[in-house]
Amino acid sequence: MSILDENLAQGPNTEGGLKISGEMKHSWMTTSKWTQYLSVLGFIYVGLVVLILASLSQIIALLDNLTGNVMLNMISTYMPFITAFTAISVLVLFFIFFYLQKFTSQIQQAVRFNNQAALENAWRNLRNHLMIYAILAGASLLLSFVFRIFLMQAMDAQNLPLNEGL
């Protein structure tokens, strides 16, 4: 009889002895408060970066026209590339915080209303958040390695010790 009841209680789509306990739900609710705070902070950061980026290119172009400085002229030439690179990074950052925000709202809904679909969606969003975050972190690591090698070669070509370029 107990075997029959076990099968009935678990249903056809569940597996193993894992259960969602009250402690887990409490952990998720506490986590969701912090993730909400972090996602809001992230959105503010993305907004600030967009504002700075929008004003920086204008300021550099204006200063370049006024002073005719060689350095400013060089930066002004590369400004579209710098803007494009930063814009892509900001877009990726936006999605990182967007998925974190979605995780927050879905996990809270799942715990409050015992909503299974919301629970699955919440973890799907967290997986996407982590995936983008890991790819971005890996790309930054790779870029810093490449930059380091480039810097070392440049210093070597000019016979300068490496610490002078840092």
């Binding site: 009841d5 209680a9 002895g17 894992l18 969602i20 299974q116 610490n163």
Partner: protein, 150 residues
């Protein structure tokens, strides 16, 4: 003597505490989450190793940076930013994966505790950093206000 007045289901079926269940789909998502969390943790460890080694080299060739004491202080800061969060995420990932393989509820609970600790730690770290920025701005403002050239 058994009590035949009790319903048949009482005490026998492992009914979950709530309507939420660990479905096969959820297991699959958790496995993928554990995979990406592990990659993220490894990247954080590499960041820490790379930064502290680079710093060791810089302090060796530039003694003005404080020597071994400067290196230890800076490495401790790097550890706060990379090593400790990486460790929490590594624990979350490995425990989540192990709990799914062994059907271990206690381990699953532990993994979510580490997951909570990670975000709480990052949250507190961000509050500390914002506080430090505000303090720096405050002192800069006071210093500029009392500057002799004003």
């Amino acid at each position: 003597m058994e009590n035949f007045d009790d319903p048949l289901d009482t005490g026998s079926a492992p009914v979950a505490e709530s309507g939420l269940q660990v479905t096969n789909e959820l297991r699959e998502i958790w496995q993928q989450t554990a995979y990406w969390a592990l990659i993220f943790a490894i990247i954080l460890f590499v960041f820490f190793g790379y930064s502290s080694l680079q710093l060791l080299y810089t302090t060796m060739v530039t003694p003005q940076l404080g020597g071994i004491f400067g290196w230890i202080t800076s490495t401790a800061i790097y550890a706060a930013f990379y090593l400790f969060p990486g460790l929490l995420f590594y624990r979350f990932s490995t425990q989540l994966k192990a709990s799914l393989e062994a059907d271990n509820g206690w381990q699953l609970n532990e993994s979510f505790l580490n997951f909570k600790r990670f975000y709480r730690y990052i949250g507190i770290l961000s509050i500390v950093l914002i506080g430090l920025f505000l303090l720096v701005f405050l002192f800069l403002g006071i210093a500029l206000n009392n500057a002799p050239f004003r």
